[in-house]
């Protein structure tokens, strides 16, 4: 009796040691990656600054100060200087960062939803439907996308919702390919067969058994899509098709700074630094996650 309970205890202990999930493993590996941790800390600071920063500032992003035009950094309470209308650059930068990050997250979410649904259905159902769906993706792949995004912005006027949708609609293609590939390997696994044997319908199998199991590669791709989206929005703003003034985004600020750079280089330099830092943190996290979740690449 005592022996049995002791044995039971050792068994539970052994299980406790073994019972580290895939995600815990990945997390440990991620934490050991200096670049990824640096990226996460930097990103946390940036997100916090974007959320809280504008409230703490004594200025608002669209507040015109006629007496404070073209001030260099640190002058008259403007830590990063001011622009041609005397607006505080730091405040505008924080708002711009908030807008860029929001677009990054939302548009990526749009691409995630479309891409995962499309890829999982194509991969799981297979056959003719798969062929048609993936052929459609192939065709879209070979289009000069930026033109269509530009056309969309021109057609419907640039509003922020449209930017989310347009960029999200462009970025889902790769996601759907990744998801389809994963689904193809998953669908012949035993647990899917068990689900099918127990009479679950296709929709439920895809939603409850396939999708949760392809999270790994999807998470990695998401962290790499966010910077791509931020870049795409900035590019549109740079061409004057993104968010409209007095609203700011990182791209819009850089565009404005580029046109005034002879007179006021700080208007170009500070937004550029923030932009590059943001993109780098995402890329470091993405690379770190890839190594952590998919260790065979190392």
């Amino acid at each position: 009796m005592i022996l049995a309970s002791a044995r039971a205890e050792t068994i539970t202990k052994a299980q406790a040691v073994q019972g580290r999930s895939l995600w815990e493993d990945a997390w440990r590996r991620l934490m050991r990656n200096k670049a990824a941790v640096t990226g996460m800390v930097t990103l946390a600071v940036l997100v916090l600054a974007a959320i809280v920063g504008p409230w703490l500032s004594p200025f608002t992003y669209d507040q015109v100060n006629k007496s404070d035009v073209w001030l260099p950094p640190l002058a008259n309470g403007h830590l990063m200087g001011s622009d041609a209308l005397g607006r505080d650059l730091l405040t505008r930068l924080l708002i711009g960062l908030r807008v860029s990050l929001a677009i990054g997250f939302v548009a990526t979410f749009v691409s995630l939803v479309i891409g995962v649904a499309w890829g999982a259905v194509a991969g799981y159902v297979g056959g003719k439907l798969d062929e048609v769906m993936m052929r459609f993706v192939d065709v879209l792949y070979s289009l000069p996308f930026i033109f269509f995004v530009i056309l969309l912005m021109v057609t419907f006027g640039s509003n922020i919702i449209l930017i989310f949708v347009a960029i999200g609609a462009v970025e889902w293609l790769t996601m759907s390919r990744i998801v389809r590939g994963q689904t193809l390997t998953l669908k012949h696994k035993e647990f899917v067969e068990a689900a099918r044997a127990s009479g679950l319908n296709r929709g439920a199998i895809i939603a409850r058994h396939i999708v949760p199991n392809l999270l790994g590669p999807v998470v990695v791709y998401v962290t790499l899509t966010i910077p791509a989206v931020i870049l795409a929005e900035s590019f549109l703003s740079f061409l004057g098709l993104g968010v409209q003034p007095p609203m700011a985004s990182l791209g819009a600020l850089i565009a404005g700074g580029a046109s005034d750079m002879e007179l006021a280089p700080w208007l170009l330099i500070f937004p550029s630094i923030v932009m590059v830092t943001t993109l780098m943190s995402f890329n470091f996290i993405g690379d770190g996650l890839r190594d952590a979740i998919d260790p065979k690449d190392r």
Binding site: P144, L151, F235, L241, M275, V276
Partner: protein, 307 residues
């Protein structure tokens, strides 16, 4: 091979058709017309102008007319630049964009592959770390940041190169645009090459080559590289799309007479035919380059059979 090329070109036709259709109706759905002036045209004049360009017909009929024109190789007249056809505009301006793009991708390939191979051969050593850090910077710094900063530093402050302009393609005017366009490509290409090279260097046939006693240089540059740059070749298509995006920015910043700047302006002015012409031009270019990439792939990798 010829048969394969023929089939691919046939498949490209529906794709182009789709592109044309989508662009045509999107453009027409936009509010406003190319003939909106500051001063409103009198209804009679407006009717005449519309009739001159066949725009008084129903939209469906205009679409069929346009398609028929495209098939005959006629992209129509520009609605904004009088006396110029769309073909004139494309012909006059594409050499600038193409020249920049060609040099950028050529330089990026040579530099990127060399850096990638160097990094792979010294994996996890100093050279590798330096190259990969630079590469990640290159991926993260967008062209619209590098371009103004380089202009500010090298052209404005130091005065080594002209800040903008084309000057009939003088070398000095091309240096900065090409550098700006090629930097992100160098970064991506060197990462791809490094990853491919590391994998190939561990493969069986490289071990065989080593066992035969081949010199290391022959193994690396002749045997390994050929397989290592395969991912690079399939990157060629997207890379060209990236160059187009880049050239929109670069042409704007350096004020170059390329095609890119026409696109945004024409779209904003509702110059329907010019926008359509450019969409067709670029879509065709991307389709051809994707085909070239696939052909190259088959040439480099004897395991790939074109079917």
């Amino acid at each position: 091979m010829l048969q394969y090329i023929g089939r691919r070109l046939l498949v490209a036709i529906p794709t182009l058709f789709l592109v044309i259709t989508a662009a045509f109706f999107m453009m027409r759905a936009a509010p406003g017309s190319p003939f909106d002036m500051d001063r409103k045209l009198s209804p009679e004049i407006e009717a005449n102008v519309l009739a001159q360009f066949g725009m008084n017909k129903p939209l469906g009929e205009q679409y069929v007319d346009y398609l028929a024109g495209v098939v005959r190789g006629d992209l129509g007249p520009s609605l904004k630049y009088r006396d110029k056809t769309v073909l004139d505009i494309v012909k006059e301006n594409y050499p600038v964009s193409l020249r920049l793009g060609f040099f950028a991708i050529a330089i990026a390939s040579v530099v990127g592959v060399s850096l990638g191979v160097m990094a792979a051969l010294r994996q996890n050593k100093l050279t590798d770390n330096v190259v990969m850090t630079v590469a990640i910077l290159g991926v993260c710094i967008p062209t619209f940041v590098t371009a103004p900063l380089l202009v500010l530093g090298i052209a404005s402050k130091l005065g080594w190169l002209p800040t903008a302009g084309w000057n009939d393609g003088a070398l000095a005017n091309m240096v900065l645009p090409i550098v700006v366009l090629s930097l992100p490509q160098i970064a991506i290409i060197s990462r791809l090459t490094r990853a491919g090279m590391i994998e190939v260097l561990h493969s069986n046939y490289v071990r065989t080559a080593r066992a035969k006693g081949l010199p290391e240089a022959v193994i690396v540059w002749k045997h390994a590289l050929r397989a290592a740059i395969l991912p690079l070749v399939s990157y060629l298509g997207p890379a060209c799309a990236g160059l187009i995006t880049g050239s929109l920015v670069v042409e704007k910043i350096f004020n170059l007479p390329g095609l890119g700047k026409f696109f945004v302006i024409s779209a904003l002015q509702r110059d329907y035919t010019v926008v359509m012409g450019m969409v067709i031009f670029y879509a065709g270019l991307i389709l051809v380059l994707n085909l070239v990439a696939d052909l190259l792939y088959a040439v480099l990798d004897p395991r790939v059979r074109l079917a």
